[in-house]
């Protein structure tokens, strides 16, 4: 098999970005980010099982501004991947392939993710009584 530097897909650098292609690569980026985020989820659960100092320290890290920023980013990544994932499942059963539908469902997924992220943080702060 000839392997001398032939172009292999997906080569994003020769592809003009469009709304739909940006959404597509975002699905991957958020997926990878969420996989990295599982480290924190595991850390939190292990700390809850150990208790004491371990749990206090993860709580501290997650409640400072950097921890909150990470959680905000991960919550958006989660909702985006969830909404766009449902869009993918519809494609898998053969629905919504035409261009108009693909753009419309793309906007729904993006708007849905932003609204859910905002809503979840308002609810989280309401539940602590901070709002």
């Amino acid at each position: 098999m000839a392997t001398r530097g032939r172009p292999l897909s997906p080569h994003l650098q020769v592809y003009k970005p469009q709304f739909t292609s940006v959404l597509s690569i975002m699905h991957r980026i958020t997926g990878v980010a969420l996989a990295v985020g599982t480290l924190v989820l595991v850390w939190w659960l292990v700390a809850a099982a150990i208790g004491g100092e371990a749990y206090v320290s993860i709580q501290k890290i997650l409640s400072n501004w950097f921890g909150r920023l990470l959680l905000l980013g991960w919550s958006f990544a989660l909702f985006y991947h969830l909404c766009n994932g449902i869009r993918h499942l519809f494609w898998d059963i053969g629905k919504g392939f035409d261009l108009t539908s693909a753009y419309r469902s793309g906007w729904i997924a993006m708007t849905g993710a932003i609204i859910l992220t905002f809503g979840v943080w308002v609810c989280a702060y309401l539940s602590t009584g901070a709002l």
């Binding site: 292990v46 809850a48 409640s63 993918h88 499942l89 609810c123 989280a124």
Partner: protein, 126 residues
Amino acid sequence: MSLHSYGEKFRALIFGKDGVAHWWAQRLTAIFLVPLLIWLVANIVYLFGADIKIVRMWIANPVNAALLILFTLALFHHAQLGLKVVIEDYIHTSWLKGSSIVLVKSLAVILGLLTLGSILKIAILG
């Protein structure tokens, strides 16, 4: 089984293009994860900032523990399947591709076991 066929099996696991099974596993875990995530996010919002006693009581509830175990299995299987595709698409050096996939699969198993161990510890010992 001969050493040769072990090697073949290993190659199939790492580089394998068992597309149909992979496709189905990715979709099925995705479908499982939709309701589980909605349930988990709603509960995390409720537990947000709660102290450890309340968090442990929540995990120790048998229904929550069972759903968390289900979530853990679906999550790490789904993550590992997705990362494998990303690695296959962007890493073209054979040894690096193979070792990255081995690393991702091993991490998924280790992190999954750590999570299951923690859930069970809290559920059984409180």
